[in-house]
């Protein structure tokens, strides 16, 4: 019987500090056993449990895309016991990852459609995975227009800044990068909250257009009315939830919302599904 609690051992290959306040770091992991990488085959939108021996495990969205081979990448916010310890680790250290866990963004449904990605703060990780996946030459033709609205509090708090500007140069993706406020005179992108920029730049909703929304509760709260105004049906709004998790496989019982487990039946839910679930998140 395979033990779903047993992590694949990995080595930290590279650590990049993403934000100026140093609270977000991107970790690149390489599997110690090459065959584990096959077993870990994942889809954009899934997460994994990062396991630090002696400290515990944390559920983190996978930031790398399945099209990127040889490593898996996660961006971790320093909030608690395990993440703080993880932030002190170095390249070469050994830890574990369990997964891939959860469901993924509904790529089958999104085929042939316009995709509008709306992200805020450090919830952007699985959205990066999605963008890299869609922009891959093998996949790009499967999607129509791609819009990305991504905002953070200030320029220094944006994730993946080099990639953001590279994407901005491309003509097969529409980038709308924004910050809440900045005193940088050379800032060439938008200034304004994500809901505001969404209202200005997002295409109107229709049968062929889907929105993937991922961000802090406050951003989601104010973006939703905007999407309603733009006529996005609730089954065309895709969201990714967070919840306290331990096992990640729908067994320990703690991450449920109603009868769904966020770790197994989610974390991706459409707004239509969420409307039928208790408001307990």
């Amino acid at each position: 019987m395979q033990n779903p609690y047993l992590p694949y051992p990995v080595r930290i290959d590279e650590i990049v500090t993403e934000t100026v306040d140093k609270n977000l770091k991107t970790f690149r992991f390489v599997f110690l056993n090459p065959e584990d990488e096959q077993k870990f085959s994942y889809r954009a939108g899934q997460f994994a449990e990062l396991s630090v021996a002696g400290k515990g495990e944390i559920p983190i969205g996978i930031a790398s895309s399945p099209t990127e081979k040889g490593f898996v990448m996660f961006t971790v916010n320093k909030v608690g016991l395990v993440s703080s310890y993880l932030h002190t680790m170095k390249a070469g250290d050994i830890m574990g990852i369990r997964g891939p866990l959860g469901n993924w963004y509904p790529w089958d449904v999104l085929k042939g459609k316009n995709v509008v990605i709306i992200g805020g703060g450090f919830a952007f990780t699985t959205l990066r995975s999605s963008i890299v996946y869609m922009l891959d030459p093998a996949n790009r033709k499967n999607f129509k227009d791609i819009h990305v609205i991504y905002g953070a509090r200030s320029p220094g708090m944006l994730l993946y800044r080099d990639e953001l500007s590279a994407w901005e140069q491309r003509d097969d993706i529409n980038m709308h990068i924004t910050v809440d406020a900045t005193d940088d005179p050379n800032w060439k992108y938008n200034v304004g909250f994500v809901p505001t920029i969404t209202e200005q730049k997002a295409p109107p909703g229709d049968a062929d257009t889907y929105a993937i929304v991922c961000g802090p509760p406050i951003m989601i709260k104010f973006t939703q009315p905007v999407l309603d105004k733009l006529n996005y049906g609730h089954d065309h709004i895709i969201m990714s939830l967070e919840m306290r998790m331990k096992c990640g496989i729908g067994i320990c019982g703690r991450c449920n919302i109603g009868k769904e487990f966020v770790c197994k039946d989610g974390p991706v839910f459409t707004l239509a599904q969420l409307n039928g679930m208790p408001r307990e998140y």
């Binding site: 047993l6 992590p7 306290r244 331990k246 067994i251 320990c252 019982g253 703690r254 009868k259 307990e280």
Partner: protein
Amino acid sequence: MKVVKINKQKWTEGIEALKNMYRLYGPVKEDRFHNFTLLEKGVSPDFNFQNTRLSPKGVIYPQTEVMFHYTLDESREDHHVMKEAAGEAAPRAIVGIRPCDAAAFLLVKRNFDTPEYQDPYWVRAYEGTTLVGLACQQPCQTCFCTTAGCGPFHEEGLDVLLVQETDAFLAKALTAKGENLLKAAGWGEAGDGGTIEKMKQDAETRIRTAVHTDRLAEKTIPDLFDAPFWDDVAFSCINCGTCTYVCPTCWCFDIQDEVSGKAGLRLRNWDSCMYPLFTFHGSGHNPRNAKTKRVRQRFMHKLKYYVDKYHNGIQCVGCGRCIRLCPVNIDIRRVCELMNTYAASR
């Protein structure tokens, strides 16, 4: 179904013989209550009880269980790599488990043994255990098994059903595992199972209390979730873990790492949705930050979410332990009635 008769002498001899083949567990009186313990040589199970204080779920699913061990010593080649803890290999038998507690394992199995994931610790422990049930002829005042999906002579979930007669036991083998156990104990004398049905009906009339669950499925989750009676239900609750820990159908657990020097363990411990930390996010946000929300979660899970998820009745076998042991007398029968009869006003 083979039925055997076991007289007193054969019973005692058989119990000792079983200890050679199985790690044998049975109810033993400690102080004023019975609990399931490993039976040492010469110790017989004491059937002079209605039910044990703690459910036997702890025999298959210990309160604290080591999942992995690892070393943090970087001079070792396998440092920081998790190693699965070797389980106990010897087969186990529980003698004297009540049918409600055995039915509870089947309910819980749906959680630990799913098509996508199997919990190897629970599944191996459960499959390696033979359950010899003791039919209930004197149910408690607080038992409501017959309306909770099982009953005092319920056979599903058991490998053998024992029925106590005046001077002997009748044992009905229900599965291959059960037959093997009867053979190992040397209990082969044919018995007349004709009286069992009458005794079963007798016992069922002694069940004095009931819950009604017929209208739980037809209500919507949001309607029940937003019902106005939760504040009243939850006021007296002190959010301890008593109900969840004594309940045979509660299964939630926590995973913890503990380190001593350079040696480490990853353990799992029983956990309870009653505790505030259960859903506490690293960010500080807690979706169930108020006592009422946590109490509501427990009853919604047991009497609604489980019903909707598995279409096989409520997540309760009517053993009554939570009713007897809740320090403030919150009664699941009362809550079930409130939920079953609730009509959302539109």
